[in-house]
Symmetry: C2
Subunit: 312 residues, 2 copies
């Protein structure tokens, strides 16, 4: 279509994104100056600490252009960052988006990307404060999300104590199942993950979880990270499995964006919070190995096998 082929001048493109961002966001939340100057200006609130996370989304590594629509990509780019904010119990404040537009992508693609991103931004109260635009052979996106929490309260992954109970939200393996099937609700879950923001905030304010992180690279690898950061080992039973997914997918599949957290033994954790099921899956203890107990109670060592970029 000729309409899609109109030239993308950087100034007009930035102006168009700025207009979309303005429509998508209500209220200021400390954002003094957004897109268009050398820097975005943010005025922090007194007594808050700020949380920052960055996430890349790379064509051919994290997605293929023929499986994700531009709106899905924009949504997912932001969802991944928001999931990190959720993991620390943060309240989203703003995001910065750097987008290298692939040579194959036209103006309609760029519009769709920002529309998808801004629909999730609008739902979650995240302002698009700025970013960078360039051309590249392949699509490349890097997103920074800033969240906030009262000073000293953000949940961390390295603060679990020996004897704490391990929990996960939701069911695992859905995203891996979706990627395998390419259709149905699991596929939708893969394309448009829901960051557990409300749950994360409740873990911080109500449950006072002792440690938390999000499951982006698979339970086995992320559990290893939480245990290692806390100087402990973990012992888990079979986790809740997404309907139709395999145990393999639940243990090692990435991109579920559920929360993994610990709480003191003896603390009552409800079966559901913020509409999401919470399941006890094991404990963190002293020692060195992660163990997986099967249904018969026999034990085996759980090797971390999730998604790691630099393992060849």
């Amino acid at each position: 279509m000729v309409k899609n082929k109109k030239p993308m001048g950087e100034l007009t493109l930035v102006e168009s994104i700025r207009r979309m961002a303005r429509r998508a966001s209500a209220g200021r939340h400390g954002l003094e100056l957004g897109i268009g100057d050398d820097c975005a200006i943010f005025e922090p609130s007194a007594g808050e600490e700020l949380l920052f996370t960055t996430d890349m989304l790379i064509e051919g590594r994290h997605f293929l252009p023929n499986t994700h629509s531009p709106r899905d990509l924009g949504w997912k780019a932001l969802a991944r960052g928001l999931s990190d904010i959720a993991a620390m119990g943060g309240i989203p404040r703003f995001c910065l988006v750097s987008l290298a537009v692939a040579d194959w992508a036209d103006r309609a693609f760029v519009d769709g990307f920002y529309r998808g991103l801004l629909s999730l931004a609008s739902e979650t109260g995240t302002r698009l404060a700025g970013g960078d635009l360039a051309r590249a052979g392949r699509l490349f996106c890097d997103i920074v999300v800033c969240g906030a929490a009262p000073r000293g309260t953000a949940l961390r992954r390295g603060t679990a104590r020996a004897g704490d109970v391990l929990y996960v939200s939701g069911a695992l393996g859905g995203s891996a199942l979706g990627l395998e099937r390419g259709r149905g609700p699991a596929w939708h879950r893969h394309l448009r993950p829901t960051p557990r923001l409300a749950l994360g905030q409740l873990l911080r304010t109500r449950l006072h979880a002792t440690a938390a992180m999000d499951l982006s690279d698979g339970l086995s690898l992320d559990l290893h990270r939480l245990a290692q950061a806390s100087g402990l080992r973990a012992e888990i039973e079979t986790p809740p499995i997404y309907p139709g997914a395999s145990l393999e997918q639940a243990l090692h599949g990435g991109e579920d964006y559920e929360l993994l957290f610990t709480d003191a033994a003896g603390r009552r954790v409800p079966a559901k919070m913020a509409g999401v099921r919470l399941t006890e899956i094991g404990r963190v203890t002293g020692g060195r190995k992660k163990l997986l107990r099967d249904a018969n109670g026999s034990r085996g060592e759980l090797m971390e096998r999730g998604w790691e970029h630099f393992r060849r």
Copy 2:
């Protein structure tokens, strides 16, 4: 060399970068938790506003691997972001670095990149607070730099007033000349630009500049942006030219990373500040066109022709 071919596990690579970052940075500057958790945690100081800028550095677009050493690339990635902080008179606080490592790059490359980046970070008091790592076909870097200024004092580009005098720091066209020659001091200037941080802070605190921005895409385009953001036009004389560079390079060449600023007519601006020459180059006035006066006083319209990614 075999040494360079050791496998890059993400966990060990992140640990190695964390150690380098720890050595490079003294003092905390509000950074509570850096590399290794879901988010970095930053505690802002009371009464400060925070400045955020993002900059991409893409193989084949912004550099070629055979012209820039890994250390040059790391330096430049941070220098570009710091130049935006300088433009607003900010004090650097921390940076977040997302790096997609090209398939051709080995562990020595990644180490060199972070060493170059951290040497400038250390010089300028910028903490490396976190980031993201991935593999990609081509090298891709996105950097976010956070700076701070007392609330309400950051310099902006859209606040020039009709009648204000235009100034630039240093001499222009050096980076374009360096790119053409591929050697000598101009080439070094292209590879390792110096962000004008001390000057930017003095423009804010001493000169109370009415508007400022950095020259990243060439004077003609950046002047257009400043004038447009302020709802004004600009009238300039020949700017100071880097020795050996052409007028073309000084007007339209990118990556000089000098500062362009305005100040009220009648305010005394010293010939040098923070060791950098300051030159009056014209005025901003009401009206619609940017003009360039040549040495004979005749006027012509200056078209913006600097570096714009989306002009094809």
